[in-house]
Symmetry: C2
Subunit: 352 residues, 2 copies
DNA sequence: GTGAAAGCGCTAACAT
DNA sequence: ATGTTAGCGCTTTCAC
């Protein structure tokens, strides 16, 4: 392996890689550290002769000086860290978006994210929280990969916490969650808007805010359109492709002309079943999903209309709430809307 | 909003939320800071009376003392941070796995990941690197979401860098990459193993290590099995569902009995085409993909056999190389194998 | 305008 | 066996 492949290890010339400090710059520029500090931080409120300023700046650039954030932090007491505890960082595409949103928003305000991954393990969670507290984080985002109630770990009591994609049943902390109900309503309305009145809903069997919320939204939409709610049009199945495939069979025995699926994966299974029966989408059956899972929704044949979960926005809003840039509702909650993504599974492209 | 929803802001009792310091503990325990430091760090090499040790420990627990990592870092010069620069943190499920692997491995060795997301933006990249240098990171992982050559940003020269899922054509840094060639060979071998000899390969049009590597692997496998390479069985298409669908049409005009698709998305398109023609998998056509994209591969009908990209392992290996726990090859590269995931698209479940 | 010096919380060498 | 103290790199008040 050539030498250049290992920078830090063996540098022949120069100062054995010790980072340049304020002292170094001060000495080289023939001024005091205070002056260098003022110049480095571009403090215009302090009087420093232009000549000095320019000279010092040159030395800073020449030496490649960079402030040591640890020292700065130690000095003025508070760090620019925000902790993010996630229960699944990559088991799912969703968690990534939360991180992404939090990351961008934090960055925008000069904060850096400290990410920890617990995979649902309580011990890992404890350690992660300890780590964050030891880094004197400004606050912590406690996030889950799917929308649910969650108990706040004891260690987090001493920190400023915002729950993301989850909430505390006992109102221990503020929370940012998606508006499942509005999402369900939006999905159903898309179907109603193109003339359907017999609309089935394939819901999940697993109890969750999504399950109840989307059902309510479905009912809201029907009610608003003056369509009677028919319980026999609501089916339950496990929330994956196989579940969707199975439930599709049941739906085909009803007179439904459109289906709202709890999620895109179920819609994918439903596509399979419809295709098997020689039925075409949306002519024989209009379909709308939920989640907007890119790999699935945008690339099924035909592309699936769906409603997106605002994961990116949840992460971003979490940071904003934490930094006090956005005020939650009176109950401490911030509800984020689920946007529709209309594609060709409701109205064929040519007709739209 | 109830008061308890905002911890840091307004605590009635106690010390206005100022974190407990060594000093505090020392005072409360009636010993010196040195002693507390020894106890807190559980330094068994220093003599501290058991009684004192116990007493101090009690105070530490009571007061909820936590060391200030900034101060510790400042003291002994080097941080426990590892930077991770990613060009797409959540645009794709892949980047997440790299982060996940790096995270776990770093954590295992007492390091914390500092993540920055550039979305390919050079300016963001510059800032991210500056941030990491200012945090005095131990080293930096520079990662890309798909395997490719990449130029190392200038700022990173001053850091110890390992490239993850990418490499420097000019050998400026060590790199960890997937073994595309072995992956292509593995995929093809799975088809050969179940008796196929006329095997088509739907490759991507985009030049990339994956494109050339997988083709080589395909040829390696054929050669090893004594099957002549027939260029007419290799087709090129854009690497998504639509591309796979289109190329499938071409493949059906050959006498191929099996297809190796450049990735799972293309395989998904191929499934669509085959279904359209009333052909069944694997009876009429055996299929193997690449990437092991969970949402797709595991849930197509039939579930797709594929080869996985070792993103998690790439991240983990990157950390190990950075920490000097794993030695790269002579050229500074670490090659990670792509494992096969056999499902029902090659041999029907009943027969396997 | 610029410099000297205190101190943020911690570790470790040196006293006692 | 425990205490004292000098910094780590930085910011900031207060002198000059």
């Amino acid at each position: 392996m050539s030498d250049k492949l290992r920078p830090g290890a063996d540098d022949d010339t120069s100062s054995a890689r010790r980072p340049v400090t304020l002292q170094d710059v001060a000495k080289a520029a023939g001024v005091s550290v205070a002056t260098v500090s003022f110049v480095a931080n571009d403090r215009r409120d302090v009087r420093v002769a232009d000549a000095t300023r320019a000279r010092v700046q040159r030395v800073i650039d020449d030496l490649g000086y960079r402030p040591n954030v640890m020292a700065q932090t130690l000095q003025h007491g508070r760090s620019r860290f925000i902790g993010l505890v996630a229960d699944a960082i990559a088991t799912t595409p969703f968690a990534g978006q939360i991180i992404h949103g939090a990351q961008d928003e934090a960055w925008k305000h000069g904060y850096v994210l400290l990410i920890a991954n617990t995979e649902g393990d309580t011990e890992a969670e404890r350690e992660a929280i300890a780590m964050m507290l030891e880094h004197r984080v400004h606050g912590v985002l406690y996030s889950t990969w799917f929308h649910r109630a969650a108990e706040l770990p004891a260690g987090l009591r001493q920190a400023d916490v915002v729950m993301v994609n989850c909430f505390s049943p006992t109102q221990e902390a503020r929370g940012v969650v998606p508006d499942e109900r509005q999402g369900g309503r939006t999905a159903t309305e898309a179907l109603i808007a193109s003339g359907h009145r017999r609309i089935a809903f394939i819901n999940a069997t697993t109890p969750a805010p999504a399950q109840t919320g989307r059902l309510q939204g479905y009912q809201d939409a029907l009610a608003a359109a003056g369509i009677d709610f028919d319980p026999s049009l609501v089916r339950y199945a496990f929330s994956d492709q196989e579940g969707g495939y199975d439930a599709a069979g049941e739906v085909l025995e009803t007179d439904a002309t459109a289906v709202f699926c709890y999620n895109d994966r179920m819609a994918m299974g439903l596509y399979d079943r419809l295709r098997e029966r020689g039925l075409s989408i949306p002519q024989d059956m209009a379909v709308v999903g939920f989640d907007n899972q890119e790999v699935i929704a945008a690339h099924l044949r035909p592309p699936l209309s769906t409603v997106g979960l605002p994961h990116y926005e949840l992460g971003a809003a979490g940071v904003r709430v934490l930094l006090g840039l956005e005020a939650p509702d009176d109950d401490g909650m911030t509800i984020v809307a689920c946007p529709p993504f209309l594609r060709d599974s409701i109205v064929p492209p040519a007709l739209s």
